[in-house]
Structure formats: C-alpha cells, structure tokens
C-alpha cells in the first residue's frame, strides 16, 4: 500500500514537473496542423476594430494618411496581415498613403505590402503612395515631421527627393494628413505617437499592435486618443472580415484557437495534478 502511494506520488511529481519538450511538441502540433489544413473561422467584430474601420471609411477620397510601419521581422507574422488589410481598405477608398518607419528593419516589409497591393488596385508609386523608409531618432522624428516633413525626410526610401514626388506637393508636415495609422510592435510605436502627436495636434491616430501590447492600449481607446485598434492576429482577422479580403489573419485563427485551447488544457491539467499532490501530501 505504501509502495503504491510512493509510486503515485512520484508519478504526480513527474507530471507536475513534466519535460517542457512534451508541452512544446503539443503546441507545435496545434499551431502547424490547422495552418497546413488551411481552415478558416468567422468571428464577430469587436468595437476597437470597428472603430478603426469606421474612421478610415469616413475619410474622403484623395485625403492623406501617414502609415507608420513600426515593426520588425520578428513580429511580421502577427502584424503584416494587419498592414495588408489596412492598405487594402485605404487603396479601395482612394486615400493617399505616406509610409514611414522608425524601425530600421521595417521599410522592406512595408514595401512588400505595397508591391503586392498596388498592382491589384492600379495604384502608382509617387502618385497614390510613397515609402519614405526609415529614420533614426524615435520620438524626435515624430515631433520633427509634425513640424517639417522635408527637414526630416528629404528623400524617400529609394533616394528620390520629396520635391519631385507629385503626391507630396502641398504636404509640408504631419498636420496636413488626416490620420496617422501605426502598425507597431513596441517602442517607438503607437503609444509614442499618441504621447508626442495627439497631445500637440488634432490628427486622429489609429492602428494595430501585437496581442501582448493590446491591453496597454485600451486606456487610449477609452480616452478617445485612439480612434480604433487591431490587437494581434485576431484584430487582423476581424479587419480582413470587414474589408472582405480573407488573408493570413483569418487563416491563422484556427491555429491560434487550438493553441489557446491547448494552453487552457495545460492549466487545468496542471491544477488537477497540483490538487492531487496536495491531497497526497496531507
């Protein structure tokens, strides 16, 4: 009897200190199998996502937005689907897009989105959109372009002077754009845009962040400083649903759902083991 109890206890100890690689393997299976199967899931749209959609939808054709691509390859799988969905909406509405970045690795990622979306919508570089590339200086750059765009970005991503880009004629600073849309993976990102620009000027700010940063942005939505927000891949999926362009966001929803459910199972299982251990110890 005592032996059986010891065996049970050692089994419970083993389970509570399970080899992490087993958990990793299960998570890997949950993430990859649905992606390989290519299944999609529909969902209801949350208010912050609807807010961004409505704000962009309310812009007049021909108006300008600043699309801040402030992310890197690490967060690309989560944020790129948002960028695609937002650019789809902007191009469909004939809104002129000025893209710039405060993250050094971002310009090629932003360019990849334009390269795919522009031909689909018949948009021309320099007429309908422009990629100004990266500028070091973080918040100082934000404030600087709010005052004088050409002082901060004399040339675009490929070295063309701003004065020879037709769509930028009459655009002297950020105050000439209707909205700032920031797709951000961290610092400097959407929070800094709010702190530096929303407190100084009337320009509307919206955008998307990684799921982990989402909760930090909620106070800004409630205060009205953020017109809308896409949070993580789910946010991207909801936006894809709104613009009726299923992409990587919707495709990733089954995988994300399975991983979340698996983590919940882990938590429940770990707690059962914990309670059994406690009872045995008594």
């Amino acid at each position: 009897m005592a032996e059986r109890k010891t065996e049970e206890r050692s089994l419970l100890t083993k389970l509570s200190q399970i080899d992490r690689r087993i958990l990793f393997l299960l998570i890997f299976a949950c993430a990859t199998i649905p992606l390989l199967l290519g299944a999609g899931l529909r969902m209801s749209v949350t208010a912050p996502v609807q807010g961004l959609y409505d704000a962009i939808d309310g812009l007049e054709a021909g108006s300008y937005v600043w699309l801040a691509a402030d992310y890197d390859p690490g967060s690309k799988p989560e944020l790129s689907p948002m960028n695609y969905a937002i650019v789809e909406h902007l191009f469909r509405k004939d809104i002129k897009v000025i893209s710039g970045s405060l993250w050094a690795p971002a310009p090629p990622l932003a360019q990849a989105v334009f390269d795919e979306m522009a031909p689909r919508h018949g948009k021309q570089y320099g007429v309908d959109y422009v990629n100004l590339g990266f500028k070091e200086g973080r918040e100082a750059v934000m404030v600087s372009i709010a005052e004088d765009l050409r002082r901060t970005f004399p040339e675009d991503h490929s070295g063309t002077p701003l004065d020879s880009i037709p769509m930028l004629e009459g655009i002297s600073n950020l105050q000439d754009v209707e909205m700032i849309i920031c797709v951000s993976a961290g610092y400097p990102g959407i929070k800094e845009w709010i702190q530096q620009i929303a407190t100084r000027y009337d320009t509307a700010i919206g955008g998307g962040v990684t799921a982990v940063s989402g909760p930090e942005m909620y106070p800004y939505i409630q205060s009205g400083q953020l017109v809308g927000l896409l949070s993580g891949m789910k946010g991207a999926a909801e936006y894809e649903q709104l613009v009726e362009r299923p992409g990587l966001g919707i495709a990733g929803m089954v995988a994300q759902s399975s991983v979340h459910v698996m983590v919940v199972i882990f938590i429940i299982f770990a707690n059962i083991v914990y309670f059994l251990e406690k009872r045995r110890a008594r």
Partner: protein
C-alpha cells in the same frame, strides 16, 4: 498791345505750371481711380450668390505663428466645395492652397511666415468669390490650453524641491518594504555561495528611455553588492549608447565597495542592437556561464518571457522590474520577484537610502494624492454633466 519778352516768358512759365498742375491733378485723379478700382475689385466685387457668405480670418491661437484660421458661414449648400487661394498682401497673385468641403467649419492654413501679411480668396462653383481682410499670423508666448498642465507640473516640481530640502535638513521618510529589492542581496549572496556570476540585463531600450537610465542607477548598487561579495557581474547590453554608461555604473559600484581592482571591462558586453539576436545572446550567456542570479531591470518587450523561462530552466533566482505594463504578467509568472512600474523608479532611492532621492519619492506621493482628488472630482463633474472641468485638461 505789345507783349514784352519778359512778360511773355513769365506767362509761358505760368501756363506751363498751370498745365503741370493740371496734368498732375489729372494723373492723381486717374491713379486714385485705378487704386479705387483695385481696392473695389479686391474687397467689394463679389457675386450676388456669395455676397451672403461671410469669410473671417484669425490667427491660430497658442502656436508659433505659422498658421491662420479661415472660417466661413452663410448661404452654402451640402456638396459645395470651396477653392481657397492665398496672396501675400499687397500682391494680388493668388495661388491655390486647398479645396475643401463647404460644410466644414473652417480651414487652417499652415506653414506661413509671421513677417508676411496674407489675403485669402475663397471661390465656390460658378466663379463666386469672396475675399478676406489682410491678416498676419502671430506667435504666442504661452500655450494657454496647457496652463492647467503647467500648473500641475509646477506644483510637482515645487513639491520635489520642498521634500529634497526637508530630506537635506535631516527629516526621515518612511518607505514601504519592496520585497523584490530586499531579495537582491539574497540573490547575490546565493550566487556567491554557488560560485557563479550574477547576470544583470538593463532592458533593450536606449538611453532616451527613462527606464534605461533608472536601470543604470540600480546597476551601480547591484555592482556595489557584487563587488563586496567578490562575485562577477555580467551585463549584456543591447544598445551601443548604453555601453559606456553601464561601464561607468559598474566601475562606480566597484569603487563604492572599495574593490576597484575587481572590475573587469569585458563583463559589460554589447551583444546586438537587434532584439532577438540580443535575446539569443543573453540566453547563451545563461546556459554557458550558468548564472545563479538573473536581474532584469528596464524596458523589456517580447524577449521578457524568453529570457525568464530560459533563466528558470537553469535554476537561477530571478528578479525583474519594468514599467512596460504589457510585460509585467510574464515576469510575474516566470520570475521569483517582480518590481511593478513605479517600483523600478523608486529602486535607486530604496537601495541607496540617499535622503535627496527619498525626498523625490515623497513628492511622487503628493502628486498621486493630487491626481486622485482630480480624478474623483472629474468623475463627479462628468456624472453631473459638467463637462467644463474635463475641458480644463484638454490640451492642444
């Protein structure tokens, strides 16, 4: 009747003078008429349809004198658009500025100069035109919309100075116990017992993030403790600008402990500017050098959990602190102790016990009380429908 030559000369001069006056007066008259026509054309010739529209120009308040505000009201229909043109007065060469929806409340023209007087022309469909009075932008000395913010900041600054003065005068302040900071010495002691180094990660942000500066201050104290225990400290750095500051902080800590000879410059290591390359580098240090105490203080992002979980797998005692709220749950879950938000900034005062620094902590408490009172007052005012109170805090 004969006319003397002299008289004839005088008469001729008079006649010439009279002609000159007449010419001059005629010239003046015609010039005046042309001026009148220009003035009339500029300011009074408007089409009957737009005559009922009033155009007003005003300086944009609280700015650096580079913008003017145009407002219009009157007989305008939904869907009408207005073409706004601008000229530098008295020049009449108008150049287009913008085309706007007539239903908009107004338009702000930016990028102007304080040294120029401007006149605006607004055209509606069908050639209807209205002109503005000449106006110049002016710069403000104080942004009045930020007065409340300025008052609060001034109050905070004053309270900081008062408490520093009180602290310098010998007044002692109570500071609540912060278990994460108390555990620091215990963690370093444990590393010493195990004969393994201490790892100090100052976040992944540059020096322009105040969290990194706060982290450098804590690093000085941690280095002092490690030096007194004769335990090596490894400081991986993500941003090049942080390297010299981290070197100085560690060196200073070793000097404060009276062990400057133990300082090893190779222990402050710049790994990579790149977030995940840096993370991989720090993980490598943890696994290879088997650090026994891992201290994470500063601004962290997605790497927080990767670092903390790797640290857990090596069995290190882990203490973390960040004001990046979104990373706090990861540190709380994976580390032994976590400093939450303001505790990171309080750490330098807590560890050094320097009266001046403790004084600033007390000033923060005063500011917190003020904010709590304002929040409560704001909640009550908004609930009662008194929006003026909230508007006081709306800065432009």
């Amino acid at each position: 009747m004969a006319i003397s030559p002299a008289c004839a000369r005088v008469s001729l001069r008079c006649l010439r003078t009279a002609c000159g006056v007449r010419q001059l007066s005629r010239f003046l008259l015609s010039f005046g008429f042309v001026l009148f026509l220009i003035w009339f054309a500029l300011f009074h010739v408007t089409s009957p349809a737009l005559a009922s529209v009033v155009l007003e120009t005003a300086d944009r308040p609280d700015d650096d004198g580079t913008a003017l505000r145009l407002m219009w009201r009157g007989d305008l229909a939904e869907g009408d658009s207005l073409v706004i043109s601008r000229a530098a007065y008295p020049d009449t060469a108008f150049s287009p500025v913008a085309t706007v929806d007539a239903m908009r409340a107004g338009y702000t023209d930016q990028g102007l100069s304080r040294k120029i007087t401007y006149v605006y022309k607004v055209e509606a469909a069908g050639g209807r035109t209205v002109l503005s009075e000449p106006v110049s932008p002016s710069a403000s000395f104080l942004n009045t919309s930020r007065l409340v913010m300025l008052a609060i900041l001034a109050l905070y600054f004053i309270s900081v100075l008062i408490y520093i003065k009180l602290a310098a005068g010998g007044r002692e302040f109570f500071v609540r116990r912060i278990s994460g900071l108390n555990a620091m010495e215990e963690a370093i002691g444990r590393a010493t017992e195990m004969g393994r180094p201490v790892l100090y990660v100052p976040g992944i942000d540059d020096l322009n993030n105040i969290q990194t500066i706060a982290s450098m201050v804590i690093l000085g104290d941690v280095a002092r403790m490690t030096a007194s225990y004769e335990t090596p400290i490894v400081v991986p750095v993500c941003k090049p600008f942080v390297v010299p500051v981290a070197e100085e902080a560690v060196k200073q800590g070793f000097m404060n402990a009276g062990r400057p000879e133990l300082y090893n410059p190779d222990n402050v290591r710049y790994l990579s500017d790149e977030q995940f390359a840096f993370t991989a580098g720090v993980n490598g240090i943890m696994l290879r050098e088997k650090t026994a105490a891992n201290i994470y203080m500063g601004s962290f992002f997605a790497e927080s959990l990767i670092l903390a979980e790797t640290g857990f797998s090596t069995g290190a005692i882990q203490i973390a602190g960040t004001a990046n709220i979104h990373q706090l749950p990861f540190f709380v879950a994976a580390c032994d102790y976590a400093l939450i938000g303001e505790e990171l900034y309080a750490a330098s005062a807590y560890l050094s016990k320097e009266p001046k620094l403790l004084g600033t902590l007390k000033a923060s408490d005063v500011a917190k009380v003020i904010i709590m009172v304002l929040l409560t007052a704001g909640c009550i005012a908004e609930s009662l429908g008194l929006t003026a109170f909230a508007e006081l805090f709306t800065a432009r």
